[in-house]
Symmetry: C2
């Protein structure tokens, strides 16, 4: 994401070819990060993008800046999807959640680092987006509960967890196959969201999304993986 158009406060307007290449680089980076982790060689990303390595460094000062942009773009996708879901929720919250979750699975190629991990966490912009996202999901869930459309013990943290789990690449599988399997999984999960008369499994208590975010950004004990580095 983030073609030539002004998406963040970054650019003073790029020339057409520069914007094109920037988009290509980001797409290549997403693919490479999904396949090989953030340690994917920048040379390879440039090659995949059909661009010279010098061009990559002209666009992004260093590897970290590239990672950061991919992360931000992913968050932006998440944010937009949540906004749409909240808008749709009044006409039926459960279908809205369904639409939201399946839509994210369909867009999973865009969702790389927020889910997969990555070093760029202490980022003000990312944090702001994530907080807003949490608010939207709470709103969505509140609406669903009011409508009696969902089991009451599901939290926003559960929704983000599901996105994080279901939108990651499945190892060794091509994107299409992973997509189908992820969608099937999510559909079963969605069925489990309904306020059944006799839930098999009462959910054990878990942290709220705020608590989760606090642990993440408070430099949690675990260093943090990102995706994967193929050896």
């Amino acid at each position: 994401m983030t073609p030539a158009a002004p998406s963040d406060g970054t650019g003073p307007q790029l020339r057409a070819d520069a914007a094109r290449n920037r988009a290509r680089i980001l797409a290549a980076a997403r693919a490479a990060f999904r396949e090989r982790g953030t340690a994917a060689p920048l040379d390879e990303i440039a090659r995949r993008a059909g661009v010279n390595i010098a061009t990559l460094y002209r666009r992004f000062p260093d590897g970290e800046a590239l990672i950061r942009q991919v992360v931000i773009d992913g968050y932006t996708v998440l944010l937009r999807a949540a906004q749409t879901a909240v808008r749709e929720a009044s006409d039926g919250a459960l279908p809205a959640i369904e639409h939201w979750l399946l839509g994210l699975v369909a867009e999973r190629e865009m969702l790389v680092l927020p889910l997969i991990g990555g070093p760029v966490v202490n980022d003000a912009e990312a944090l702001a987006i994530q907080r807003e996202l949490g608010g939207l999901l709470d709103e969505l869930l509140a609406t669903a509960r009011d409508q009696g459309a969902i089991r009451p013990d599901v939290t926003a943290a559960d929704l983000t967890t599901t996105v994080a789990l279901a939108c990651r690449p499945l190892p060794h599988l091509d994107a299409a196959t992973g997509q189908v399997l992820a969608e099937r999984h999510v559909r079963v999960f969605l069925d489990g969201l309904r306020p059944g008369p006799d839930p098999i499994s009462p959910l054990p208590s878990g942290p709220t999304l705020d608590e989760v975010l606090a642990r993440v950004y408070a430099d949690g004990p675990t260093p943090t993986p990102d995706n994967t580095t193929q050896r």
Copy 2:
């Protein structure tokens, strides 16, 4: 191969301290791979294991051998769990599946590379285990369907997908928090497995487990990530 005990056909019996260190190295490798991907520096693994790098290289000829062992150990856990589940299924297949899945989530620290990915795929031993695993899951599902305990459109591929998704580390989170969130997710999924009268989401057709395995081992188009390499 693994601890001191005879697990596979590998060792001529290790001395006590050697076995201890070997186990420590494998535990450290699992942790490092989960956090940083298979590209985690071997020096770091040795350090975490409280062992000299030379000892690591004495035990494992190279990094790939270490990865391979971690993979095999993970598959072994999967296999044992499936065997237990099949044994329990006659007394109620759905509780058996529940027990199986939650047990794997609890043991997720052991399940590193089969799920996360990793370069060691074309391995006869791993392939054999995976096939056996598929057979056991089919058996489990057949029993569950006979008992009318599960929706009929769920396949063995769905079960392995769920394990693969739910047992991976959640980025930026410590193990305990990730564990809780994964368990909650799995419990909702389990509720979605029941043969409800009105499933929200009919599952779209997907590949069988055999087809999935074939794609994986037939050198699927996508190179394959493993876990993640932190930068």
